[in-house]
Amino acid sequence: MITHFYDVIIQTVCRLLIPFIQVYGLYVIAHGHSSPGGGFQGGVILGASFILLCLSHDLQEMRKRLTRRTILIFCSLGVTIYAGIGFVCLLLGGNYLDYGRLHRILPVDSVAARSLGIFGIEVGVGITVMAVMVSIFLDLASEEKVREG
């Protein structure tokens, strides 16, 4: 669907913008538990940056940097991080997602552990959202077969 399309202005501007967008996305993820934002929003921003890359250059360029396989791995990795943290809390004797318990394995106190736990979750969510966004886009753009959202 998307063919190679040379436009110096678009390509240059995007090349300049994309790193900043990505850093901003990471910021939103990282700062999510103490200000507006979070894994979801950050993930969307990250995903959008890849889509922008794809739009400004072409699909092959995108493929080079982020193969389908990698996307899939990211997708499940994020969920695994999310669920894994919850699981660790469970193993540590608390309830599921009871981050406070994490202080037993982390060198910090309970409150900070809670904060870190939420951060970990946000990272997981961010990765997943990014991967899913990109993969939906790619699937639609590259005329591939059906997959889940």
Partner: protein, 496 residues
């Protein structure tokens, strides 16, 4: 690991392994299936232990992240959802076992995604049952539905279109449900079911609550394919791949029925449902319509699977009818029928899956000589069919019996007539198929030729089918135990 964390593990383990399967699938595709079976067996085992726990020690409350309700999300397991939980996990395990061969035959290249989606669907269904929070229920409802849309779309020619229609209906249903949640939140400021059940009785005169209730009912009715909102069902289930339809058909609608019981009778006070509003009355009439309509349209079908779809609509009518009677017997019948119907439908759809797997056509008039080629499969169909008709000692009879008692208790003679007539309709339906399968042996020329190679289905399909059949046969005899051991506790206190 303490035993009390089983409620969450039931949900989380399938969820994690659903995504884990994608990872595994990239490396070793053949490991996906064992992983899925392992997960499902874990769910089944833990739901058995949870049910035991609940029956011995009373309701389990599990707080996610340690937040106290009504702020945090709470998972609550009482006898009612413990019971449904066991049904869902056990049947999905059985269907999961069968799925391998069918997947290999129908879409081998998508096996990884299939297993992932399958587990997601099961996660969603289990989540709906376990959760004690209305919004969380919505999320799980959508997880199950979205996985369902994608799974159904894997099927035959018409599947994507049928799935799209299903999606439009399903989304409207889910949105209505969400609106109901919203209005309820406005009125009460809480989303926790137990909390709501305490707040609501004082707010019943509020119009907001009334609207919320109406939205809930319509939304759930769409999800459980209650007549006249059933239009998506026959198409979707007919075109779905066999492994999918035998998972989705018995469980999704039953879980919908569970949600209806949960919302109408435990979140809202039962008196509101039965006495204040004519809701129970309306439900009765709708259910009457559903039963009649389902049976009559089923008569008109030539495709076996589509016929089963309409039978399913009628069966949903039974459950709704039992709830609509609003008395003890009716409700017992409805809850028992959730179990029985799940078994019967799994058995029937699996039968269709098994014969399609062997390349047998699904058209009714082409079933000749089936019993010679696939005797056990055909026998399973006969038994499940008898159960739908309501012939004792199969389990279908006992739930019907309770429904009849419920009808007598609430003096609904018309409903009773319809109940009885529907079993006659079902008799026509199923004996028509049985006659074809058993008596008109493949005498015609050509038919014999083609059917020569067809053998009994492979063990992984046959075994679950036979287990289900045995369940249909024996659970009927144990229904007294089930009722006095489980369902008795599952019925809201109001009815005692």
């Amino acid at each position: 690991m303490n035993e009390i964390s089983f409620p969450i593990l039931i949900i989380v383990v399938p969820l994690i392994s659903a995504f884990f399967i994608i990872l595994v699938g990239l490396l070793r595709r053949d490991l996906c299936y064992p992983l899925m079976i392992l997960t499902l067996s874990f769910s089944t085992l833990s739901s058995i232990s949870v049910l035991k726990e609940v029956l011995w020690g009373g309701t389990i409350h599990y707080r996610l992240g340690g937040w106290l309700p009504p702020w945090g999300i709470e998972y609550v397991i009482d006898p009612l959802n413990g019971f449904v939980l066991l049904i869902v996990s056990a049947i999905s395990l059985l269907i999961g076992i069968t799925s391998k061969r069918m997947v290999e035959r129908e879409f081998p290249e998508k096996a990884t995604f299939f297993y992932c989606l399958f587990l997601l669907q099961v996660t969603g269904l289990l989540g709906i049952v376990v959760t004690g929070d209305l919004f969380n229920l919505y999320v799980f409802l959508e997880i199950a539905s979205i996985a369902g849309y994608a799974l159904i779309a894997l099927g035959e020619d018409g599947a994507p279109f049928a799935s799209f229609n299903y999606m439009i209906y399903g989304t409207v249903g889910a949105c209505f449900y969400l609106l109901g949640v919203g209005y309820l939140y406005i009125a009460t400021g809480s989303l926790n079911m137990a909390d709501l059940a305490q707040i609501l009785p004082s707010l019943l005169s509020s119009k907001v609550v009334l609207i919320a209730f109406a939205f809930f009912m319509v939304g759930i009715a769409i999800k459980m394919a209650l007549f006249p909102l059933h239009v998506w069902l026959p198409d979707a289930y007919t075109y779905a791949p066999s492994a999918v339809s035998s998972l989705v058909a018995p469980l999704t609608t039953k879980v919908g029925a569970y949600v209806m019981i949960r919302v109408a009778l435990t979140v809202f006070p039962p008196a509101f449902f039965i006495e204040t509003l004519p809701a129970a009355l309306m439900l009765r009439w709708i259910a009457n319509g559903a039963i009649l309509f389902g049976c009559i349209l089923a008569l008109a079908q030539k495709d076996l699977k589509r016929m089963l779809g309409y039978v399913l609509i009628a069966e949903i009518g039974y459950i709704a009818l039992g709830v609509g009677f609003g008395n003890r017997n009716g409700l017992t019948g409805a809850i028992l029928h959730i179990l029985n119907d799940a078994l019967m439908m799994a058995c029937l759809f699996l039968f269709v899956g098994a014969i399609t797997y062997q390349g047998w056509p699904r058209k009714m008039d082409q079933l000749r000589g089936l019993h010679r080629k696939m005797p056990l499969t055909a026998a399973a169909f006969v038994i499940a069919g008898l159960s739908v008709i309501g012939v004792p000692p199969t389990c279908g009879f006992f739930s019907k019996w309770y429904l009849v008692l419920g009808a007598i208790d609430s003096k609904e003679w018309l409903s009773m007539a319809i109940l009885l007539a529907s079993s006659l309709f079902n008799a026509i339906l199923f004996f028509r198929v049985i006659e074809k399968a058993y008596f008109e042996s493949g005498k015609e020329h050509g038919m014999v030729q083609r059917t020569m190679e067809i053998k009994e289905s492979p063990l992984t399909i046959l075994l679950p089918l036979l287990v289900l059949t045995a369940g249909v046969l024996s659970l009927g005899l144990f229904s007294g135990k089930i009722i006095s051991g489980i369902i008795r506790f599952a019925i809201p206190v109001y009815f005692k």
